[in-house]
Amino acid sequence: MNCRKFYTEHENASLEGFELEVRSEAADGVAIYRISGRLDAEAAASQGLQSAVGSAINGGNPRIIFDMRGVTLITSAGLRAVLVTAKQAAAANGGLAIFGVQSAVDEVFEISGLKQFISIALDEAEARSKLGA
């Protein structure tokens, strides 16, 4: 099996109480972002989540998985970052799948109807399957 795996660890973004940690890895043509903390405007911007995902997509990894087991809260801006990622990935003939959604985040997903637009999986294996990986 030919797979390439690497880990990139980002420093915690601790900006006056806003904390987001993002670890990225790529394997079998899928870029996985393991996210923990609050996914809001400042956290997403300071961690460069959007630009990191953009680089992955432009670099030939348009199949993206968000591991959100550690995400405790998501605001409108965080949701928007997820939607923009999904749009960019789809435009590059890839896609975005999410797994590990916690209850507080799931409530936001339900109310916003995000599940109409983005694949939500039970676990990483199902997320990969939804992306055809």
């Binding site: 405007a41 605001t75 409108s76 801006a77 749009k87 109310i111 916003s112 109807g113 637009f117």
Partner: protein, 226 residues
């Protein structure tokens, strides 16, 4: 003026081509849409954010547009976190005819022109016909693309769709058959953004208040017991 704000765009869309005015019956929902549009713009510019219960400042730095910055200052000065719907209602209540402010901006930007027109030979009324109409055509093209394309809309376009739906612009653009076929898509897009949902709530409350039975004898809204 740089890119039109969402408040600017919805006013352009609401202006009737024949009269150059917003229909008087829609004036109240124009104010709600403008207030919602300002919050939406501040959110897109990274100055505010929202969760399910409140709207909050994330960056107090001015954006360089006095219209938006005046609202940003007001939000920054409020000590309590309030929901988006509260801010929309506050703005509508305290700012009078905000549509005139937006119309002035659009005239200054050369998108509209101001004309004084007479009616009934005696009375005059100011109308705001569009100069080229390009901005309206572009906004409508984006809305049609959101409605009839399967792709995820951009955040800006999904917000504009919600303002168009709340103000009746969408009904004017689509036939009833098109509205019926697109209803699920429209509903799915409208739900995405929290401020869009808040605009719908405030507009629904406004319509409910208008429909409340009034005791004409006394001139007060009649109390109804649930």
């Amino acid at each position: 003026m740089k890119q039109l704000t969402l408040a600017d765009e919805i006013v352009v869309l609401m202006l009737r081509d024949d009269t150059g005015e917003i229909e008087p019956a829609r004036a109240d929902c124009a104010h709600i849409a403008i207030a919602g549009g300002i919050l939406m713009e501040l959110s897109l510019l990274g100055r505010i954010d929202t969760d399910l219960s409140s709207l909050f400042i994330i960056d107090r730095n001015p954006v360089g547009d006095e219209f938006l910055d005046s609202v940003l200052r007001e939000i920054a000065a409020e000590p309590m976190k309030r929901p988006s719907a509260w801010w929309i209602e506050q703005y509508v209540r305290h700012n009078g005819d905000v549509s005139r402010t937006v119309l002035r901006r659009l005239v200054e930007a050369g998108i509209l022109r101001a004309e004084d027109r007479q009616f009934l030979w005696v009375f005059s009324r100011r109308a705001y016909p569009k100069n080229s109409g390009r901005e309206e055509r572009e906004a409508k093209a984006r809305l049609m693309s959101v409605i009839f394309d399967d792709a995820l809309p951009t955040p800006r376009d999904s917000l504009l769709l919600s303002l168009a739906e709340a103000t009746g612009v969408l009904e004017g653009m689509l036939s009833s058959e098109e509205m019926r076929k697109a209803s699920k898509r429209i509903a799915d897009v409208l739900a995405l953004e929290e401020i869009s949902r808040a605009v719908r709530v405030v507009e629904a409350n406004r319509r409910k208040a208008l429909a409340a039975p009034v005791d004409w004898y006394v001139g007060m809204p009649r109390r109804t017991h649930d």
